[in-house]
Amino acid sequence: MLKNTNESFGLVSKSLHWSMAIILTGLFVVGLYMTGLDYYDSLYHTLPWWHKSFGLLTVLLLLIRFAWKLSNAEPEALKTHKKWEISLANITQKLFYFLILLIGISGYFISTAKGKGIEFFTLFEVPAITAELEEERADLIGGAHELMAILLAVFVVLHVLGALKHHFLDKDETLKRMTINKH
């Protein structure tokens, strides 16, 4: 039920998948929106604060996801999946992990560029690991954070389209395996 088997995803994997899906979507939308806010907007300080806390949470979830993936069985691809579909899915998954990690790290450096930590919700402060970043580097990291987020969003769209193709065109179990079906 909790753990993965060779045929199915357990509750933990599903929860990680969907919670990250929701949070990442939120982070992306809020991230684009908040950077365009006027200084006098009532959300000018609030949205970045939530963005940072949820960003840190995402990195934490990603690390848990890695650990869980390593300590669990990997459900095998469906028999009906074609070879190219399987390898594309594998590449996409690795790219997702890689991008999410890099976006998280770059976000961390944007906020800690002056050697100050980031508040994690109201719980504690994640300390800065660098004393101070060079200005060009800080600006470069800021640009990269946005670019990688847009790239990730593009791949998420393809990922969703792929899932829908499996569900509606191929009429296979792919989407059901990650949702309600089979524990």
């Binding site: 944007i110 906020s111 002056k114 100050k116 200005e135 060009e136 800080a138 800021g142």
Partner: protein
């Protein structure tokens, strides 16, 4: 005959030198950047309720000063705009962006004096051209002479402080921070080492 020509040439070149530098007795100073005995700071109103202070960490400059002919004094300062520091990572990033200083496009800000009028009370008015955000405008700084004399390490130093008020809009910075924050006060405190 030859000596007369030589003398004339010499006096001509002396006159040129006199004219160019304001005074042949003016001393040249380099702002003590290495020892950081100088600062360029600004304060701008935050919402009309308090002052936000920031500074530029990287700048250099020289000035000349002659006690007997203060009016011939000159100063030129160049500021590395990306060194802006308000002690807040994201705000500094924002100030560096094209909303404000646009440092990738305008990496330097400059001030070059055009006139210096000293009063008897140690106060002075320094007029000059300030180039900021690619826009050059004349500004007048209120100057106070702070002191001058030998330092303990065999050199000679002289210090001034000055301030002026500029409007962001005048320098093409259009970002609206609210009515209380349209202008900012610029402060310079410097110590020069005589060359």
């Amino acid at each position: 005959m030859k000596t007369i020509v030589q003398k004339t040439l010499l006096s001509l070149s002396l006159a040129t030198a006199l004219f160019a530098s304001g005074s042949i007795f003016a001393d040249d100073y380099v702002i003590d950047k290495k020892g950081a005995h100088a600062s360029i700071q600004f304060k701008i109103s935050h919402l009309g309720y308090s002052w936000l202070w920031g500074r530029f960490n990287d700048f250099e400059g020289t000035f000349s000063y002659d006690e007997k002919n203060a009016a011939g004094s000159k100063i030129a300062v160049t500021v590395n705009t990306k060194s802006v520091d308000s002690n807040h990572a994201e705000r500094d990033k924002h100030i560096r962006s094209d909303d404000f200083l646009d440092v990738s496009k305008f990496p330097e800000a400059k001030f070059e004096s055009t006139s210096y009028v000293e009063g008897s009370d140690g106060k002075a008015k320094l007029k000059g051209n300030l180039t900021l955000h690619g826009v050059t405008k004349e500004v007048v700084l209120d100057i106070a002479k702070v002191g001058a004399g030998k330092d303990p390490w065999g050199g000679y130093r002289r210090g001034f402080e000055g301030q002026t008020r500029i409007a962001l809009k005048d320098f093409g910075i259009k970002k609206n921070l609210g009515p209380a924050s349209a202008e900012l006060d610029l402060f310079i405190a410097l110590e020069g080492i005589k060359q």
